[in-house]
């Protein structure tokens, strides 16, 4: 048998073996055996010395071609086997993607704080400052400065927790108006502020009353602030909080610290004004009180009421939350039941 035939035979035999090998290790063994220094191809090449010199390059080239062929066969087979192995491995690694994920701890902000944060950011965006005031307040600021002198009938409207003759738990956030007006330097620009916080009334806690709740007070004072500005500001607020289709309407009311005073209704966000149980079939829901700041409040704080004026409003985040989310018991906000509190994932 000549060398060429031997090589061809070698090629065919090994091609078959490679094709039939199912194992990477066995394949590697074939490679080592076939192409190593003691392998049959090297053996064949070694026999070239017995050939005629003119034959040698031809046989050499042929042997190299056989070697390359087999190397390619080995490589292809190796890749095929590796791919199969990977596929098999991946198959064994398949998991149930519907099993629940790990519990990663995450808390929930209180719904009242969510509402207050939202309203604060709304007004910050319009150039208002947020002013904090004391919760233990002086009678002077809570009442006198707000045009509610001692024996004023309006004091009937708010039964207050007094600490002593002078000190009380503030019954409203309005005293922050007076405190801010007193120190604001109008030569540096207008006063645009809101003041959120806790307030206290001498009420018995039940589904609709709480001795502690929240208010957000708003105040804008400058040389040319109109009731139309109040209406526009409250419309923008109502649309921000309750939805862009909302309308508002103002009704006359009475607060000692504003004149004119109004109650503000927002068109029912549940029935869109058609009338439903939530709006008591009126299409409107009362959401806040407002008005043009009473000149006495300005004068009391040392602001010239002939030059400066503006509007004020006060709203209740508790009431907003109750209306917006259909909460029927104000005590839910203060009991700390996690099943209730953790349902309010932040909107946005």
């Amino acid at each position: 048998m000549d060398l060429k035939t031997k090589l061809e035979q070698l090629r065919e035999e090994n091609k078959k073996r490679i094709k039939e090998t199912e194992d990477l290790d066995a394949l590697n063994q074939i490679r080592v055996n076939l192409l190593g220094k003691k392998g049959p191809i090297t053996e064949v090449l070694r026999g070239m010395k017995d050939l005629q010199p003119e034959e040698r390059p031809k046989v050499g080239a042929f042997a190299n071609q056989i070697k390359a062929d087999l190397q390619e066969n080995l490589q292809n087979r190796k890749e095929a086997l590796e791919q199969a192995a990977l596929t098999a491995k991946l198959a064994t690694e398949t998991i149930d993607v519907t099993l629940p994920g790990d519990q990663v701890v995450q808390g929930t902000p209180h719904i009242i704080d969510q509402i207050m944060d939202d309203i604060e950011e709304f007004f910050i965006g319009q150039g208002y400052q947020v002013v904090d005031g004391p919760e233990v307040e002086e009678d002077h600021y809570n009442f006198e400065m707000m045009n509610i002198p001692k024996d004023h009938p309006a004091r009937d409207m708010q039964d207050t927790f007094y600490i002593d003759d002078q000190l009380l738990m503030r019954s409203q956030t309005s005293p922050v108006q007076a405190r801010t007006l007193e120190v604001h330097d109008f030569s540096k620009g207008p006063l645009k502020m809101i003041s959120p916080g806790r307030v206290y009334r001498r009420d018995t806690d039940d589904a609709t009353h709480s001795h502690q709740f929240h208010q957000i007070e708003g105040l804008v004072i400058d040389k040319h602030i109109t009731m139309a500005d109040l209406k526009g500001t409250l419309l923008a607020l109502a649309q921000h909080v309750f939805g862009e289709d909302r309308q508002i309407r103002l009704r006359p009311s009475y607060f000692p610290f504003t004149e004119p005073s109004v109650e503000v209704d927002v068109s029912c966000f549940h029935c869109n004004g058609k009338g439903c149980a939530i709006c008591k079939y009126s299409g409107w829901i009362e959401v806040l009180g407002a008005g043009m700041v009473h000149p006495n409040v300005l004068t009391n704080a040392g602001v010239d009421a002939d030059v400066y004026g503006g509007f004020a409003f006060g709203l209740g985040p508790d009431r907003f939350a109750m209306l917006k989310y259909g909460i029927d018991d104000i005590r839910s906000f203060y009991q700390g039941d996690v099943r209730f509190l953790s349902q309010f994932k932040e909107e946005g």
């Binding site: 629940p100 808390g107 150039g127 919760e135 309006a154 645009k192 009704r251 996690v338």
Partner: protein, 803 residues
């Protein structure tokens, strides 16, 4: 104020149903809460006349009445009322009728005798005992006038009248009388009311023959008027008058008392009628009571009066609490023949205080508190005298006694058109504004955009520009105002550092798994004082509503524990809660507490619940400490926060609690609750922490400056330190830090061991020390040198064995 639609219609014209009126008036003037009709839900109730009467054959109290109900034949009705008599005009519920409490009337038999309907008491039609005349309490109601049998009894009783509930704000006390309401409704619709003022006819003796009246201090009673009506007969008021009273929620008593109430409803002017013959003198003196002076009021209650009370006296002893309630000693009774009528204006504040002091707030006192129209005091008095004489067949004494008097002068308020438009943001013209003032019945003159407005005494709430602007705004219509946003010079809106920090700390805790709660700032003295990290004093409210809410909290943890207990009682045991709010410590010698912003948390049960893929992770001290450390790290404090063991807080575990100290100041605490305290609260193992946010805000911070990422590699060495159990990690860390040299970057504790492989009283802590040079790669020699120094110091300073 309950406003009768029918009565209102007599006073002013307006094109609106009661429901339309509710909506309109609520939008322009006074909120009307509801419209109700007593007849709602009732039907087939007619007037009947008792034609004949006989006893029921099988009963000693039932009667069998033949009643004419306007049909061909009288119908037979069995009736148990003791006051039924032949000839009476009564209320009959026909078969098929619906009466009060949704009761349906059927034809039936009573003890064998057929009964074709029911003769009714007012209560059976839904009248409460507060408004049904007392005379008929024990039986059926009897009309005092012959009505057409078969006619609608509900109509005759005024029950089909719509009653509008006006919610009068304190400034609109002018609408606490029908005339005031008529002006308001008239202004709303552009119509003037029309009042019929009949002249009082004085046929009796001069009033001075009966009485002299004096007011000791005109500040107490700026106006005090009296008339006398003589020779009257006390009897029930006519039906038209009774109807008006009960529709307004007032019970008819007799013709004299009813007239005082009717006039109060009509004019808003409270009146009082004295039995002249019981005065025991011929004089009236209005003065302050003397200390302890006794008076029995009409309700039968005895009072010991104070000098803060204004009293009406007969010159010697009190006969009425002025403006609040009459005295029993001068009450109008069936035998009264001469009446002294008082129409006055009393100072509001003393009246309010007296009414509160004796718990006697009444329709009258609330009107005096809020003020009355000085222009209608005498009109009301005249009309009362006229009506009493007419209804009691008496005669009015000639003249009025006026012990004090206020001239009813209108108030002039000037305002410019510019001012109105400037405040409202409108462009109204002078004609429109004049028209609005005219609708209110205000006399107005205008020249060059300047209005001079004469406000009548009936609108005593109006005295400044802003008051007139309100009238213009509401009558022009708030709906007609434009909607604009304020145009001012630009202002910057931003949170203060404190506000921004508080929000950030809240978000951080939420990210770490804690849910926010809000608890009550007023709590019990014990809860307020617990977990105190300072020696402040407590602050109480003077008149708490309940014991649970009387003292200002000085910690947030107590509220969190309440929330934990609330949840545990509802089988929610895995809890991670926090609150951000103020505490109120008070320094000795101060009356006002400070207000300090705090943040606090409470964790109980599992942080991670057992799952198919995760083991349960119960909360422990170090988990909570990790939360606190994360929060503190966010503040980039310049100084270290030390955890100093806290062993003496009765609510905290003595071996698992610590104070947090920054720059020598206690800024918070952390720890497990004392197991006994946990048991008392009925809660499981619970860990709490509390931090003073104001202190953290005030503390100095590290500057944020950029440091380039290291260019040279770090080298680590592990070292195991065996020490006696009393040596703390903090002590070891301190020795490492002091001796590690300038290349030591970090000492990370990765293991703590004590147990059977170690002798009792020993523990082993293992640290990874990381070294790095900024300017070069460290040599092995440099690291070994530093590490040797650390080991030597641990041995010498802490007696450690290095393993």
């Amino acid at each position: 104020m309950k406003v009768s639609y029918d009565w209102l219609k007599e006073l002013v014209d307006f094109p609106a149903t009661p429901e339309e009126l509710l909506d309109k008036v609520s939008r322009t003037g006074i909120e009307v809460d509801s419209v109700s009709r007593m007849a709602d839900g009732l039907k087939k109730v007619v007037v009947g006349r008792v034609v004949s009467l006989k006893m029921h054959p099988d009963s000693d109290h039932l009667h069998v009445a033949m009643v004419d109900t306007g049909e061909d034949e009288p119908r037979q009705i069995v009736c148990g009322a003791p006051n039924i008599e032949e000839g009476q005009t009564v209320i009959v519920a026909l078969p098929g009728a619906r009466i009060g409490d949704n009761v349906k009337i059927k034809r039936g038999k009573m003890r064998g005798v057929e009964s074709d309907g029911m003769i009714c008491a007012l209560q059976e039609l839904g009248f409460s005992n507060d408004i049904a005349p007392k005379a008929y309490d024990a039986g059926i109601y009897v009309f005092d006038e012959p009505l057409e049998p078969g006619s609608d009894a509900l109509k005759a009783l005024g029950m089909e009248d719509a009653v509008l509930d006006f919610e009068i704000t304190p400034n609109r006390a002018d609408a606490l009388g029908m005339r005031g309401v008529a002006w308001e409704v008239g202004a709303t619709y552009g119509n003037k009311p029309h009042f019929e003022d009949k002249p009082v006819v004085e046929t009796g003796k001069p009033v001075a023959d009966y009485l002299s009246v004096k007011v000791a201090d005109e500040k107490d009673a700026p106006s005090y008027q009296m008339r006398v009506v003589d020779n009257i007969t006390i009897k029930d008021s006519p039906l038209w008058l009774q109807r008006r009273l009960w529709n307004a929620g007032i019970r008819p008593i007799n013709n004299i008392v009813d007239v005082t109430n009717l006039i109060m409803l009509g004019y808003g002017q409270p009146l009082h009628a004295f039995d002249y013959d019981k005065l025991g003198s011929k004089q009236i003196l209005v003065r302050r009571a003397t200390p302890g002076e006794p008076l029995t009021t009409l309700d039968g209650n005895d009072h010991e009066l104070t000098p803060d009370d204004i009293v009406i006296t007969n010159g010697e002893k009190p006969i009425a609490l002025a403006g609040v309630m009459g005295g029993l000693n001068s009450e109008i009774t069936a035998g009264t023949t001469t009446v002294a009528i008082e129409a006055a204006m009393f100072a509001g504040t003393p009246i309010r205080k007296t009414a509160l002091r004796y718990n006697l707030r009444s329709e009258a006192s609330s009107r005096f508190e809020k003020g009355i129209d000085v222009g209608s005091i005498n009109k009301a008095l005249d009309e009362a005298a006229r009506l009493m004489a007419a209804l009691g067949d008496g005669e009015v004494a000639t003249g009025t006694i006026s012990a004090s008097h206020v001239d009813p002068e209108p108030v002039e308020v000037d305002i410019s058109l510019d001012r109105i438009n400037h405040i409202l943001g409108t462009q109204l013209d002078a004609k429109t504004v004049t028209g609005l003032f005219d609708r209110l019945g205000f006399e107005v003159t205008e020249a060059d955009g300047l209005f001079s407005v004469l406000v009548p005494t009936r609108r005593w709430d109006i005295h400044i520009e802003a008051d007139l602007i309100e009238e213009v705004a509401r009558l022009y219509g708030f709906d007609n105002l434009p909607s604009t946003l304020p145009t001012t010079t630009m202002t910057v809106g931003e949170f203060t550092a404190s506000q921004a920090r508080r929000k950030r700390s809240r978000k951080l805790l939420e990210g770490l798994g804690l849910t926010q709660i809000i608890s009550y700032a007023l709590t019990t003295p014990a809860k307020a004082a617990a977990f105190a990290i300072d020696d402040s004093e407590e602050t109480h409210v003077a008149f708490p509503m309940t014991e649970d809410h009387q003292t200002l909290r000085r910690n947030l943890v107590s509220g969190l524990i309440d929330a934990v207990a609330y949840n545990v009682a509802r089988k929610q045991t895995d809890l991670a809660l926090y609150e951000q709010g103020r505490i109120f410590p008070r320094s000795a010698g101060h009356t006002r507490p400070q207000e300090v912003e705090y943040i606090a948390g409470a964790l109980s049960g599992n942080v991670i619940q057992a799952g198919w893929h995760q083991a349960a992770k119960p909360v422990d001290f170090y988990y909570v400490k990790g939360i606190v450390d994360s929060l503190l790290a966010d503040y980039r404090l310049a100084g270290p926060v030390e955890y100093q063991a806290l062993v003496d807080d009765p609510c905290l575990h003595p071996g698992q609690s610590a104070k947090l100290v920054l720059d020598g100041e206690v800024i918070g605490l952390i720890g497990r609750l004392h197991p006994q305290f946990e048991r008392a609260q009925k809660i499981n193992e619970t860990y709490v922490f509390e931090l003073n946010l104001d202190a953290l805000l005030a503390a100095s911070r590290t500057e944020m400056t950029a440091v380039a990422a290291p260019k040279f590699p770090s080298v680590t060495r592990d070292i195991a330190v065996q020490v006696t159990a009393n040596i703390t990690n903090a002590e070891i860390q301190a020795v490492i830090a002091k001796n590690g040299g300038k290349f030591l970057q970090d000492a990370h504790l990765f293991d703590v061991y004590s147990g059977k492989k170690l002798a009792p009283g020993l523990k082993s802590l293992a640290y990874t020390l990381t070294y790095r040079r900024k300017d070069a790669t460290l040599t092995d020699d440099e690291v070994t040198k530093a590490n040797d120094r650390v080991e030597a110091a641990l041995k010498s300073e802490l007696g450690a064995v290095i393993r």
